[in-house]
Symmetry: C2
Subunit: 424 residues, 2 copies
Amino acid sequence: MALIVQKYGGSSVADAECVKRVAQRIVATKKAGNDVVVVVSAMGDTTDDLIDKAEQVSPLPPARELDMLLTAGERISMALLAMAIANLGHEARSFTGSQAGVITDGAHGKAKIIDVTPGRIRAALDEGSICIVAGFQGVSQGTKDITTLGRGGSDTTAVALAAALNADVCEIYSDVDGVFTADPRIVPAARKIPRISYEEMLEMAASGAKILHLRCVEYARRYNIPIHVRSSFSQKEGTWVVDSSDIEGHEMEQAIISGVAHDRSEAKITVVGVPDKVGEAATIFRVLSEAEINIDMIVQNVSAASTGRTDISFTLPSSDGQTALSALNKVKERIGFESLRYDDRIGKISLIGAGMRSHPGVTATFFAAIAGAGVNIEMISTSEIRISVVVAQDDIDTAVAAAHRAFDLDADQVEAVVYGGTGR
Amino acid sequence: MALIVQKYGGSSVADAECVKRVAQRIVATKKAGNDVVVVVSAMGDTTDDLIDKAEQVSPLPPARELDMLLTAGERISMALLAMAIANLGHEARSFTGSQAGVITDGAHGKAKIIDVTPGRIRAALDEGSICIVAGFQGVSQGTKDITTLGRGGSDTTAVALAAALNADVCEIYSDVDGVFTADPRIVPAARKIPRISYEEMLEMAASGAKILHLRCVEYARRYNIPIHVRSSFSQKEGTWVVDSSDIEGHEMEQAIISGVAHDRSEAKITVVGVPDKVGEAATIFRVLSEAEINIDMIVQNVSAASTGRTDISFTLPSSDGQTALSALNKVKERIGFESLRYDDRIGKISLIGAGMRSHPGVTATFFAAIAGAGVNIEMISTSEIRISVVVAQDDIDTAVAAAHRAFDLDADQVEAVVYGGTGR
């Protein structure tokens, strides 16, 4: 008998019909002889509706109270799901994050999980019950206030519970079939990836693939919890996110490149004419860090000998753009830079693959593909298993398609690459 | 500095504007130098909407899950209210029933309060915070499941917290100005009662006056918590519900009769032809009690000597009518009665007043007034401070008005009776 943690997102429980369908799926898993813990998000637009309500009474609601408000969303969906399961003749009990033992720090709206003490869940499982747990929420250590985990919170709840319960697998359900080699809306020939390592999935998530949140993958890697990303609308196998050793053992002919991710949500700031002195760059990034802005890529030009000045460019979430600009303008005199340039019409394309470690020439092929598509590269950054470039936002689709094709990821070709050894 | 517990019902927090208005009222109370604890119900129709959702996924939802679902309602209203108060520059913290220390038994949907341990509320008050507490909900002792208190739950939460915190007063806000001598929709000359004893208020509540629930008044009487029933739409004094000793001390010229209550929600069942043997009536009422039906009035006719049989009539909430009829039909053979008659077109009129203890003739005046209005009395029951009669439902308005007039309760007259001694 396996212990399976399943997580259903808001679109999977959008209305009563969806809730009943998910209930059937859960009951089928239970009937197959498994213990089942389900983590559920708020229904469809519930969270947005609650935020609207908050804005109607206060322009800047206190974070503690916003958390109290928003956690009503999962409370509703989890109770309804438990009822729907009971209606199919199976015992189900719902638990809030607090009841499930999800202990967090006190950072309302973006709390971090400190500990998971799922004693009540374990006891309910032992009594044969299906457990439904509210995603996205916890209770703060010490003050015992209700907290929310912020973006990707429900996925993280699921993986954290799976780790604490020593579950066999954490299944993440959404409305897509798994992780693809590229966004199928851009590359119709994109193919579902059957298995991917935590490291590659982390790079995919950090590069704009929205299917799993970075945080949840990090948690899964730390505790070595296999994640199965799949659709709640089909019975098909999805994508397994597992330890790299589990992949290399199973698939000798692993593809060099796992996929091409893209991200339209970033902007680029260029600090023009920074005096080329020791510590100036450090000051710039300390200021941004104090404003709690996450920087992605950084490029510093060689300084012009004639002026003793240089330009520093970096990318960041465009939602943080205004905050970053005003933080930098406050230290303009102190640093002595000349001006700021802001561009939110950029996009990032990333090539991810553990295979690129051992295959030289990947970078050259990637750049050649993009150049061949007539797209100009503005910035470059690399990790051991990823190459990212910044291009004009309008060029994203063209560049993604070109890279996908250049690495033989298109569906017909890929079958040969991945399954070549077996002859299928 | 006083400690004031205020309770706002669903109509007082029906939308964002209402929430903001209530927030101003709470802040004014705080600014006047009081510690303030607020108990709040779910907004407007929220509870009904949640019940609708439950019915969409399950015809008979488990009580535990229904409680989990419904408690989302107060969670939303209390968080919004805390936000609205914060927006006025005052610190406010919301607490669930569980966080506020409302400990109940495990009877989901109709839990009873076992204990109140408001340590977190006390600590927040000591730090100068306004406390907002979810009404209607608690947490079960032992299993620590979320429970709801059932009808009148939020009022009971408020009184229970007031008792546990040793508050100076519990203010119950609704959309009416206080407790009236009769329903003003039936008797336009009905007058607001300035002060009424717990005992009289209990009889009023039990007799169909909907403004305060029986349970909340019982709780207040047990702990001697003064209740101030008033409107959230005006600043007028409402009705004080207090210990009778506090009334007799203040108002020498107390009215004999406090008010006339009525109730259209009951039905009458007559068990026809019951064998006149010892224990037959006991069997009937044991069967009904096992079906968890609350009986109100009972009348047993003298048995006809010729047949050795008698009729037993009783009243009960008409919502329990079908359950009662089928429970009785199951024991028809065993008891040997002839038939059942059911009538839900009845109404009950009750005259309540502590003064009737020491004033003979009240019963005679009451019956004469009803007879004088041409209304037939079907059943009678009395307590020390109440007389109730059952009449045809269509006669309710006529009979209430006649009784109200007969006891000089109409507005012009009453001023003379109640305030006669002071000359006002």
